[in-house]
């Protein structure tokens, strides 16, 4: 049975599933003032795939609504926060999935992007679900340490496809987003 599951998971790793990324909840770190929050707000608002940004100034947090059908770039969200002078503490993305099986410590392709699920129970994602990015600079240093220890694969160190991923047919150096549920 285990072998069959492994075979199925490898099969799925090579298959591109589709999902509709709808919104994200972003918490920024390193600030308290409204002026600083506005700088991040403005930077996020300028991104071409962002439809709307709703701030929660007290918590330095933002609800970002994506444009329908637009190519979503999670790194661009992080860079916008950093360019404003701050860091990302948490980025949780809500997407609509259609029967996507995900397994712990395994790669899966969604909308042409590679996701590597960490510290999850094996499950099938269906309907609206929220996934949280755990790559370096998307969480606090402490959180990143916790999640990067959850896999032996080298891609978690750089966020780029390493030997671990290319064996599965993922192009070398391709961006691999490490996520949890």
């Amino acid at each position: 049975m285990k072998k069959i599951l492994l075979f199925v998971s490898i099969l799925f790793a090579g298959v591109t599933a589709s999902a509709q990324f709808k919104s994200a909840s972003l918490q920024a770190a390193g600030l308290t003032c409204a002026m600083c929050t506005k700088a991040i707000n403005t930077a996020l608002d300028q991104l071409p795939f962002v439809a709307e940004v709703n701030p929660d100034i007290n918590n330095s947090a933002f609800i970002i609504t994506f444009k329908e059908g637009a190519e979503i770039d999670f790194d661009a969200l992080k860079n916008a926060v950093e360019d404003a002078g701050f860091s990302v503490a948490k980025l949780a993305v809500t997407a609509s999935f259609n029967n996507l099986p995900v397994r712990n410590d395994t790669h899966v392709q969604v909308n042409g992007k590679t996701f590597h699920f960490l510290k999850i129970d094996n499950q099938t994602l269906n309907g609206e679900k929220t996934i949280t990015l755990v790559d370096k600079d998307f969480v606090s240093a402490k959180e990143y340490k916790k999640y990067s220890a959850a896999t032996k694969m080298a891609c978690v160190q750089t966020g780029k496809a390493a030997d671990c991923c290319t064996r599965e047919g993922i192009p070398g150096n391709a961006r691999v987003y490490h996520v949890t549920i």
Binding site: G30, T32, M35, K38, I57, D83, A84
Partner: protein, 295 residues
């Protein structure tokens, strides 16, 4: 809190000057630094924090400084227009000019200055950060030199370089800086040796947000109060001053700042143009002014 105190009291000179101050004043400064347990701000009025201007953003500032001249015994003022640009998330540039009637009967142009700051360390966490930055500046002034006090605020020509460390812990922000200043302005003939040329500057700043208690929108007006300790010790002559500069700041619409401060000497043995002065400034931030605009 102990950590904050250590940072605040960092450096031999700071400690040395602290002990030269009256104990009551020392208490006030420490209480201000310790007591700001609420939302502290680091948009200081007299000093720069280690944090930077957002990348691709521009700020425009005008400042006015008023004092009573030591020699003239009249109220003199200086007008200082300034622009800042965030070249990247770590690097910023600033240029300013000064105009005053402090060395002439009418207001005239007197100096230009270029300033650059690079943030080389940034450790962010929720409502917490520690940042360090290095800065350098150069000024050219046409003013003659009559005083011991060294600065690049319009009075003298010279170079300055230094380090800034800013710590935000549980909404308490403290910033300290130390810098070396070398003044190149020519001194009066035959008396050149009587004046200092090099100085060590140090600052310690704390800020507190009075209003609003809770944020509901970017349009809320913010009221911040600040207390900054500004000190100088000349290296070639044994002269010094320690100033305290309380200030208030209003922030409108999260992009315009109106500052008012009063700087006065706590202790010192320098021949200065004035031992107290007023400062009023207005600054506007143009976020993403140099970035790509979304269609």
């Amino acid at each position: 809190m102990v950590c904050c105190l250590v940072i605040l009291l960092n450096g031999y000179v700071v400690v040395q000057q602290f002990f030269q101050m009256k104990s009551t004043t020392l208490s006030i400064v420490l209480l201000l630094a310790i007591g700001v347990a609420g939302n502290a701000q680091e948009l200081y009025v007299y000093t720069d924090p280690a944090s930077n201007v957002p990348a691709r953003s521009l700020t425009a500032k005008v400042s006015g400084k008023w004092l009573e001249g030591y020699h003239s015994k009249r109220t003199e003022w200086r007008f200082m227009p300034e622009v800042q640009v965030g070249l990247s998330k770590k690097w910023m540039l600033r240029a300013n000019a000064t105009f005053s009637d402090m060395y002439s009967s009418n207001v005239r142009w007197e100096s230009i200055r270029l300033y650059t700051k690079y943030r080389f360390l940034s450790q962010d966490d929720l409502h917490r950060h520690f940042r360090m930055a290095a800065f350098a500046e150069a000024a050219h002034s046409v003013n003659p030199v009559f005083y011991d006090e060294l600065n690049l605020d319009g009075d003298q020509s010279g170079l300055r370089g230094g380090l800034i460390a800013t710590q935000l812990i549980n909404k308490l922000a403290v910033s300290v800086s130390g810098s070396y200043l070398y003044v190149t302005s020519e001194r009066p003939k035959y008396f050149a040796d009587a004046y200092p040329y090099q100085a060590l500057n140090y600052t310690a700043s704390a800020g507190y947000l009075l209003f609003p208690g809770k944020y509901t929108s970017y349009r809320q007006t913010n009221l911040n109060i600040y207390a900054e300790l500004l000190g100088q010790k000349t290296l070639d002559k044994n002269r010094f001053y320690v100033d305290l500069a309380p200030a208030v700041q209003l922030i409108f619409n999260s992009n315009a700042k109106l500052n008012a401060g009063y700087r006065f000497q706590l202790n010192g043995n320098m021949h200065r143009m004035a031992k107290k002065q007023w400062l009023v400034s207005f600054e506007y931030v143009f976020l993403n002014a140099l970035g790509k605009k979304k269609k």
